[in-house]
Each structure stands twice: as C-alpha cells, then as structure tokens.
C-alpha cells in the first residue's frame, strides 16, 4: 500500500468528475461573458464618439503625423524610468541606511519631490536651473550657466526620472523590507557581507514584489511624459494639441491621442503581465 505506483491514478470518482466539470463550465461561461461585455463596452464607446459628431476623416488624415511623436514619447519614458530605477535603488538604500547623513538625504529627497507637483518640477528644471547657473557664474565659476541651461528633452527626462525615482524609492524600500529577517540571518551565517547579501539574497527576492508596482509607475510615466510638450518637444500630445488648434478641432485630436496612449498602455500592461508571471514562476502554480 505504501508503494505510490499502486494508487489509482487516472480514475476520478464520477461525483468528483461532475463537480470538476461544473467548475470548468462556470469558468468558460465567465470567460465568454467577460469577452462579450468588454466588446459591448468598446462598441458603446465608439457609438458615443460617433454621435458627438467627430470628424473621423480629419482624425485619420493626421494619425500618421501624430504617431511620429511616438519616438519621443517612448524615448523620454524609457530613459526617465531607467533613471528613476537607479535613483529608487539608491534612495531605498539611503532610507534604510544607519548613516544619519545618507538617511536624511534620502528622506529629504522623497519628501520634497513627492510633496510638490510634477508640473512645477518640470518648470523648475527648465526655468530655475539656468538662473542657478547664472548665480554660480557671477560667483566666478565660468561656464556654469551653459552647464545648467538644459535642453528641453534633457530637462524633461530629468524631471520625470527624479520625480518617479522618489515614488519608486518607497516601492523598493517596501520590497526590501518585505524579505523576512530569517533570510538575512541565514545569509550572515553563511558568511556573506552586506553587499553580497543584498545582491544574492535580498534583491532577487524583493524584485518579485517590486515588479508589479514599478510597471504601474512606468505606465503612469508614459502619460506624464506629455508634460515635456510644454517645453516644445514634439511628442504625441504636442503634435495633437498643435494640429487641433491649427484647425480649431481640438476635440478630435484629443480623442485620437487619448486612444493612442490607451493602446500603448494596453501593450505595456500585457508585457508587465508576462514579466510578472516569469518572476513569480517560483511560487505561483498554474496546474
């Protein structure tokens, strides 16, 4: 009896089979109805767009031109999220640091940046920095003004990266703190120093917790990248707004650019789901 090969493997009792079948039925029915209602919502959305009398030919004509701004939108978002990730890891280490200077620096960074509107920060990077440079130049540091006068694209990437870095600092910190004390103790008893412990034990496990909220931030950032249009970068929303104003048909262009952002975010979301499933394959079973 203790030999597992003697156990009946493929024979499920009929009662149990009936229960399994009904569960499967409910699941397929749910999936089908979900697809139906989603499709219904999309049809309804387009119906609303139709009855408010949008000029679809106008939208179709300018679609290509507006899509030309996609490159800038993606460039700004990707570079800014990269910067934000680096700042977030440094910020989180700072927030957890026992060194009072480093800890206070990180805490002040998070507090200041999270406590001020992103729009104001964008203006600060663009307008206020050159004046800092000018002041430095007056104090005798030649060339300071040129260094501090950032081009629009760079100012935008810095503004977004620094802002999101502050939010993500807290995500990374929470992720690192979610790893049990036992893991640290185990690492130490194996003789790892603290950098080895971080690299081999804490980060790989924390990453799993961090990935979903970080992708969330990235999706939010793709849309906030439209703020760089203020400084004259010809990304998606800049193009849409200018064309809308040129022909006094702003609504069409706003609807169009909203749809483009939406599709981008749907794609990003599916990427996020894949990455998340990959990271979590250790502890999530799909039978």
């Amino acid at each position: 009896m203790n030999d597992p090969s003697e156990l009946p493997v493929n024979e499920i009792p009929p009662e149990a089979q009936a229960v399994l079948n009904s569960i499967e039925d409910t699941q397929t029915r749910f999936k089908r109805n979900l697809a139906f209602s989603l499709a219904g919502l999309v049809v309804f959305l387009f119906f609303v767009l139709y009855i408010i009398g949008l000029d679809f030919r106008f939208m179709a004509r300018w679609l290509g031109f507006i899509m030309g701004g996609m490159g800038y939108t993606l460039l700004v978002s990707v570079l800014a999220i990269t910067l934000a990730c680096i700042l977030a890891v440094l910020g989180a280490l700072g927030r957890l640091s026992r060194n009072p200077v480093i800890n206070s620096l990180a805490t002040a960074y998070v507090s200041l940046i999270r406590g001020t509107p992103l729009l104001v920060q964008v203006y600060m990077w663009y307008l206020a920095l050159p004046q800092v440079g000018q002041a430095l130049e007056r104090m005798g540091i030649a060339g300071a003004q040129r260094w501090f006068t950032l081009p629009a694209l760079v100012a935008g990437i810095l503004a977004l990266g620094v802002c999101y870095g502050a939010y993500m600092t807290e995500i990374v910190r929470a992720g690192m703190q979610s790893i049990g004390v036992g893991q640290r103790e185990a690492a130490k008893s194996l003789g790892m120093n603290s950098s080895q412990m971080l690299r081999r034990i804490i980060f790989p496990q924390a990453l799993r917790v961090i990935i979903p909220p970080v992708s969330n931030e990235f999706i939010a950032m793709v849309k906030d990248s439209s703020l760089v249009s203020l400084m004259g970068v010809w990304e998606l929303s800049y193009r849409a707004i200018k064309i809308g104003r040129r022909y006094f048909q702003s609504l069409e262009m706003l609807v169009l650019v909203a749809l483009i952002y939406w599709v981008m975010c749907i794609i990003l979301q599916s990427v996020q789901e894949r990455v998340e499933a990959h990271m979590a394959r250790g502890d999530r079973r799909t039978h």
Binding site: A142, K242, G244, R245, L251
Partner: protein
C-alpha cells in the same frame, strides 16, 4: 593613489573647460550667432496664420517666413524651437534660443525682461460673437456678457483695463464684461464660442487675422462665428531678444536695419498678402 590622479585629471579638465568658456564670454550676441552660423528662433505654433503646422506637419506662417527672410539677410541658417508661449514671454532664455519672432506686443511688463525691435507689422484687436446671435449688434451690447480671451495676451489686459503699450494710446471700453474666461490660447476660445451662442461664451476678443482664419478654414467647415464692430485698438508687433543676455545691442541694431530693408523693398507687404490676405503693414 590612482584615484587621486583621476580626480586631479578631472579637475584639470574642468578648469581648462571653464577657462575656454571665459574667453568666449566677451563676444557680442551678433558675433555668437554669426560664428555659429545658426540663429535659433522661438515661435509658438498655436497661432494660424502667423505660426502653425501645415498640411505636412511643418512649421509655416507669416512669422516663419519673416524669420527665414531675416536669417537670409543675416547670412545664417534658421532653426526653430517651439516652447510654450509663457516660457517665451518669461524671458531669461539662457541662450536656448536667440530671438522670438512671434508677433509679440511690446508691453511695459515684457520690456522688463525683453528687448524689442521696431514693429514689423501691426495687428487689429477684434471682438467676435456666434453667428446665430441676433441681440448683440454693437460692441457696447457686450456689457455684462461672458467673454473669452487667451491668457497673458493684450486682449486679457485690455478687458481688465490694464494694458500699456509704448507709444500707443489705448481707449478702454466704458462697460465691464460680466465674466472673463481665460484659455491657454486663442484657438480654444474660438472653439468654445463655436459650440453655440452663449453655450459657454457670448463673445471673444482676439486678433482680427486669427478670427478671419477661423472663419475661413477652421472647425472642420468654417467656425460659426462673426466679427463684431471695429477694432478697439491696434497693437504693434515686434521681435524680442533676451534682456539678460550680455552684449545684445549690435544684434538689435542689425535686426532693426533688416526690418527697415524689408519694409523698403516690399517683402513684408508681400508676405502679409500671402498669409493674411490683406495688408497689415503700416506705412513707415
């Protein structure tokens, strides 16, 4: 030891760089532009027919053509940048761009941070109402009505009795609007007026050429608005330079010379006829 060496090298490089910059500091703005071979011009692409994106999505308009002509006469290439209007009027450009060729009125406030050339054309202000309206027959009928204007424009200041332009006598209306609605740009006000008579706005105040362009080609098939009364005032429009940039005097003098030559040989009139379909160039 090696670390110290690297730091030392970096410091040295930095100092060399700074020193090189210090030598460049004394040049005049005109020389800098000529040395670079490029004049960077800021323009706000929100204003048809002065500055807008054409069928191919390229910058086009009266201001764009004027800027290209100025570049040609200065012997340099022209590069356009398109920051928000507020960033242009705020001054302190930090050499991001050399000049604004964007139909700017030299108001007293702007003169605190910007230098202005002589006017290159003048623009009539214009009230407009919805086409369907039958009760507003003259400008005085606008008393107590809701009026839309673009923010930080002379139109907003005019309705607030707070407009000062050098050498221009402004006669304010003797009535007050019921409510003033401000928009990021004139096109938004025109669109809101087009929604319907009194739907959001009863009237707008903008430039005559912008309203004419909206009636001619805007809102899909011509915006349903009409002009009301004579222009309440005319504003001179100029190029602007950054006041905080040192040694700009020779550039200003050179630009004035170029504008004068464009008056004299009829270039400005020709461009005005092309983009405004009327002559907006005053006699010198």
């Amino acid at each position: 030891m090696r670390k110290h060496l690297t730091v030392g090298m970096m410091m040295l490089a930095l100092f060399t760089f700074c020193a090189a910059n210090a030598f460049a500091g004394g040049k005049s703005a005109l020389d800098e532009i000529k040395a670079a071979g490029v004049m960077v011009v800021s323009t706000d692409a929100n204003y048809a027919p002065q500055s807008y994106l054409n069928e191919k999505g390229e910058l086009e308009g009266f201001d764009i053509s004027v800027a290209k002509e100025v570049g040609k006469r200065l012997g340099v290439k022209v590069k356009f940048v398109t920051p928000d209007w507020d960033l242009i009027t705020a001054g302190k450009w930090g050499k991001r761009w050399d000049i604004s060729i964007g139909s700017m009125t030299p108001t007293k406030e702007r003169k605190k941070v910007l230098l202005f050339t002589m006017p290159y054309y003048s623009s009539p202000a214009q009230f407009a109402i919805h086409k369907a309206n039958t009760t507003i027959k003259k400008i005085n009928d606008l008393a107590g009505k809701t009026i839309g204007v673009a923010t930080e424009t002379t139109y907003e200041r005019y309705l607030n009795h707070n407009l000062q332009i050098e050498d221009v006598k402004i006669v304010y209306q003797d009535w007050k609007p019921g409510k003033l609605v401000t928009y990021p740009t004139d096109a938004n006000a025109i669109e809101d007026l087009s929604l319907g008579d009194g739907a959001r706005l009863d009237a707008i105040l903008s430039s005559r050429q912008t309203i004419a362009e909206a009636i001619r080609s805007g809102c899909g098939k011509g915006c349903p608005i009409k002009m009301l009364g004579d222009p309440p005032y005319y504003e001179p429009l100029c190029f602007a330079l950054d006041k905080t940039r040192p040694n700009s005097e020779s550039l200003l003098a050179e630009l004035n010379k170029i504008i004068r030559s464009m008056y004299d040989d009829g270039t400005l009139v020709k461009l005005s006829m092309k983009f405004f379909h009327t002559n907006m160039i005053p006699k010198l």
